[in-house]
Subunit: 348 residues, 2 copies
């Protein structure tokens, strides 16, 4: 008895291709071609069946490392995100995953900065979906060590293709709604300006205001990192402005949550005293208080288009930067209403 009785599994060497071949009475190369469904191969049905049967019976799983070494492809793509806690990434990942798996690729997520994740994922994946921010000013190919990459939801100077959604239009949607509601003093709890999404949303905010004939005072924009705490702080500052803004446009969902809480903390009501519109629609949004009026971006589509582009790059055809052509949508819920009649801006 060489195998200890308690644990068969650990000592059990996995079945190799040659074991299957031997069991089927054929050469390994034949087994390989049968198992991979090689169309070129003509093989007797009877032989094919023997191979298939042996593989099933022995529970054969091809050794991925060997295959990767031979074919120089891993059939996996990686996605690197800065922050797993942002639900928007979950939706992007979902879209990417569907598209990738339709093409036979596995999607794996890693959290972290670009250089760190690159070092980690290098050689484990055939390409990278990059949603992570970076302090780099230029995304040059060498950054990724020759690994095909596409930027998701961020556009940066450099040679890397990027896939984005129309953040400017999304922001404009929010502002236009506020304008139509009668607001004139609309402030923006902006995202971190080193993030390209934040810049584009800010731009959309400004452009829409201008188009509405409203002047955007510089002090009506406060910058925050993309989280609740920073959003809360920035919104609180905005609410101290006099005349006080009657509406706040938050640059993402986490900032929107912080913003709602800042309004309440200032003993103001949403939407009676101050309207709030968020950005990104996630399952959460309709369960906030009040249910958040927000801009729904086509995030799942974003993920899937990005995966598609990456697959192109992996296939050797250079992908172009695109903007997903599904237009953003305004989801009207309860957090935006006409400004108070007495909106003199003097505050309470």
């Amino acid at each position: 008895m060489i195998e200890p009785h308690d644990g068969g599994s650990p000592g059990q060497r996995p079945t190799r291709l040659r074991d299957v071949a031997a069991a089927a009475g054929v050469d390994a190369s034949v087994a390989s071609r049968v198992l991979n469904g090689d169309a070129q191969l003509s093989v007797r049905n009877e032989t094919r069946d023997r191979v298939l049967e042996a593989a099933a019976r022995l529970n054969y799983r091809p050794n991925r490392a060997a295959r990767a070494l031979k074919t120089a492809r891993t059939m996996a793509v990686g996605m690197v995100v800065p922050d797993l806690a942002n639900p928007a990434f979950a939706m992007i990942a979902l879209g990417a995953e569907k598209r990738a798996s339709a093409a036979g690729y596995t999607l794996m997520l890693a959290r972290g900065s670009i250089p760190a994740s690159l070092a980690d994922l290098q050689g484990r994946v055939d390409g990278l979906l990059v949603a992570a921010a970076t302090s780099e000013t230029s995304y040059r190919r060498p950054l990724f060590g020759g690994v095909p990459a596409v930027l998701v939801n961020r556009k940066e100077p450099g040679e890397i293709a990027s896939v984005i959604v129309d953040d400017e239009a999304g922001a404009a949607l929010a502002i236009r709604h506020l304008l139509e509601l009668g607001h004139r003093r609309i402030a923006h709890v902006a995202g971190p300006q080193d993030a390209d999404t934040a810049r584009r949303r800010l731009r959309g905010y400004r452009a829409a205001l201008r188009l509405g004939g409203v002047e955007a005072a510089p002090e009506s924009v406060a910058e925050a990192s993309y989280d609740e705490a920073a959003g809360h702080l920035a919104a609180a500052a905005l609410l101290r402005l006099r005349p006080r803004p009657t509406a706040l446009f938050a640059a993402n969902i986490r900032i929107a949550i912080g913003t709602l809480s800042a309004v309440r903390r200032a003993r103001l009501r949403v939407p009676e005293d101050v309207s709030v519109i968020g950005f990104d629609d996630t399952p959460l949004a309709s369960y906030l208080d009040p249910p958040l009026t927000t801009v729904r971006m086509p995030l799942e589509e974003l993920g899937s288009v990005a995966a598609e582009s990456l697959l192109r790059e992996i296939g050797g055809r250079r992908a172009e930067s695109v903007m997903v052509d599904i237009p953003p949508e305004l989801v009207v819920r309860g957090s935006a209403a006409p400004p108070p009649l007495d909106a003199t801006g003097r505050g309470s």
Copy 2:
């Protein structure tokens, strides 16, 4: 011209070990040992430096597939989660990532069910952190095809080691707080009972009530899947009970959010009319309205202990099931208060 002019990078073959060796004027085996810091090897400093310099200059990156094939280890671990949108997983993953990377492993996340992810990750990782639910009734080793695995935040019959936190104690903490506040009609918006965490939280709820001398009516427990929508529905049903519960204990953060919204929808105030306590503390919780009183579980620690166990398993030493010994903490914020004085339970 064989290389097309436009794309230098794609055509560039990566540097192999033998290139480095050649550049340094040594054999590949020597280069390998130098680069891997082989302690056995005695090598002239001058030679070592030549190798190191060549590797740096040529920007050498070892081929992971080749190495994995040779060593039969990938130096990566996978974590499979059912739902990227649950912020609790983000915290668990963070802890796991830190521990894994301290041991030189890369952590990769995959979303999905167990069989699907297993097929995808098989051969790409040396072990699996399994946070995904399943319909399987028994987690036997064969389920994972011999891949070392540890269950994270779920304990199941079977042979797979699991790491959990003390959900029962956490739930009891919440109930005890409510009891001390004077509540007697405490309902539970429970999680899906096919999830072991949900069962343990329910058990903690029941035990703490009993200990407080309060009888838990069967109808005061409503089951929901772990999301806002289901939590909302289940809580709404609970609020229709007569006498109406004065407090609601939600089985996770997403359910808590749905619960808050159900209370408001019923035109009741939190905490004046109904107290709500959640489970899991995430950045969100303090920015809800009202700020959520909740139970903080040591999730990051959970991730790190789980990673540690997995590393053990990978090392061939069987890991035991453990419960993280950091006790849960009650984070008192604004969503729980004494029951209304007129709590006759007749409703409004």
